[in-house]
């Protein structure tokens, strides 16, 4: 029992060290991608198209839904003790700072992390990765780096879009519950919005983007030879990406609150 537990812990540590090493190699490959690579640009463009552009629809729906939920649930409660102005910090905290980056990451995990992991795993099984190595193309630079840039950039942009759409979309719901002039609504939002809220949101989106791009490619590369491993790689990518993004979210939020509390003191 103890031996089995020890072996599992050992495997997990080895996998984490490998992932960190892979992340390091990906970061190192960024320079070469921008200065020397003229063959992987298409992969980057396709990745942005799939991860950002094609996710705008579902992102709009979710952002609008969250904005509506905050208004529908929050406004009556806040109005009942004459604190309806608190709806603005509530909207910014939930949409921009906390749920926005996390839900955007979840959308991308469900769409792109599975796609990347299964695509890369398929390439390993069909020996396409070995074929890249055989012609002198580094698979990390050619396969992982454009996906890393594409996913991170897409999550960053999609998060901004989610915040804007969530806050603006909720304005429509406010019109039904508590008609407010657009100028008042947006002035109040802007007055409540702090630089730190924007910064935390952007940092989270960048960190989540990097995490899920690396986790998905690592899981894709981790298969050996059987085609049955391909969907398993996709599933592992989803599970790991969720776990790592939630952990990172907790750490960043905790740091933010600790620093805010320190600043206030």
């Amino acid at each position: 029992m103890l031996k089995k537990l020890g072996a599992t812990v050992n495997d997990k540590i080895s996998a984490s060290v490998y992932t960190i090493g892979f992340f390091g190699k990906t970061i190192r490959g960024l320079g070469r991608f921008f200065y020397h690579n003229r063959t992987s640009t298409k992969i980057l463009i396709m990745q942005i198209l799939f991860t950002f552009v094609e996710a705008l629809g579902i992102s709009s729906l979710l952002a609008m839904g969250i904005g509506a939920a905050v208004n529908v649930l929050g406004l009556p409660i806040l109005t009942s003790f004459s604190q309806q102005k608190l709806i603005y910090p509530l909207l910014i905290t939930i949409i921009t700072r906390e749920l926005g980056p996390l839900l955007t990451a979840f959308i991308i995990i469900a769409r792109s992390a599975t796609a990347i992991a299964t695509e890369v795993a398929g390439m390993v099984v069909s020996h396409e990765i070995e074929a890249y190595i055989s012609v002198g193309v580094d698979p990390i630079e050619h396969i992982a780096v454009p996906r890393f840039i594409g996913v991170t950039l897409s999550l960053f942009l999609l998060n901004i879009y989610f915040s804007i759409f969530g806050l603006a979309g909720s304005f429509l719901i406010v019109q039904i519950l508590n008609p407010t002039p657009a100028a008042d609504y947006f002035n109040n939002l802007l007055a409540t919005l702090r630089i730190s809220d924007i910064l935390v949101s952007l940092i989270k989106s960048l960190v989540f983007g990097m995490i899920l791009a690396v986790v998905a490619t690592v899981q894709g590369f981790s298969v050996e030879r059987a085609s049955t491993e391909i969907p398993q790689a996709g599933l592992r990518a989803v599970g790991s990406a969720f776990a790592w993004c939630i952990t990172a979210d907790i750490v960043i939020s905790a740091l933010y609150y600790m620093l805010s509390a320190g600043g206030a003191a």
Binding site: H127, E128, E130, A131, I133, S134, V135
Partner: protein, 257 residues
Amino acid sequence: MTGPGAVGQGEAKAGPLVSLEDATFAAQGKLIVQGVTIPFEEGKTTALVGPSGGGKSTVLKLAAGLIVPTDGVVRFRGSDISLMTRAKTLAFRKESAFVFQDSALWANQNLRQILELPLKTHFPEMGKKDLDARVAEVLALVGYRKDVDIRPSQLSMGEQKLIAFARALVCKPRLLFLDEWTESLDDTAARRLVSLVKRKQAEGTTVIYVSHNLGIIRDTAHHICMIVDGRLSLSVTAEEFANNGNLSKTIEKGIAL
């Protein structure tokens, strides 16, 4: 002149071009290749033969530096392949090429892109005109005459093998690794590839291949190595294979398994 025609072919040195020295490879806790030592002489052709699942393809991939031995060393011109610098690795890749058993063409690229990628990697100075010319030249060489703006999934297995051969030859390599290279080809295409390999041999190209085809082995190999259960069980010259009845029978039996 730009492109593969201008390749520096590397200085000839004493000793084998590629060598496996006590190479062992294990995966998922299973030993696939055990303590194999084979020197592959420059300009010679070596056939790796043996029963299916015996580790021939793994030996070939070890020699090509596609996988790293878990024990032992694989050397190219005396340098440990796994310890080469980036520049040296790139030079090795420029000088060598690999044809995979299942072709391994990149599914998300069209044939033109597949053939251009090695050229763009090793000859970044090549312009579109030079690229087009070299792609057309190598396609004519392997006898592929159809559209090049299609994906590999639109090709038959035999056509995929031809494109895999074209990809391998596009940079004019001096060292060829071929894994089951005539499998899934019709007789005409197979004959064309055999004559192509013979032409490369005449030009001094070192060829290391895996095959079960006795006719091709007799026709092209200078050296025959039999791999059984991951071990080198026999290593003979083509003359010994042709003249020693017992050796021939052993190898023929091994191939037939």
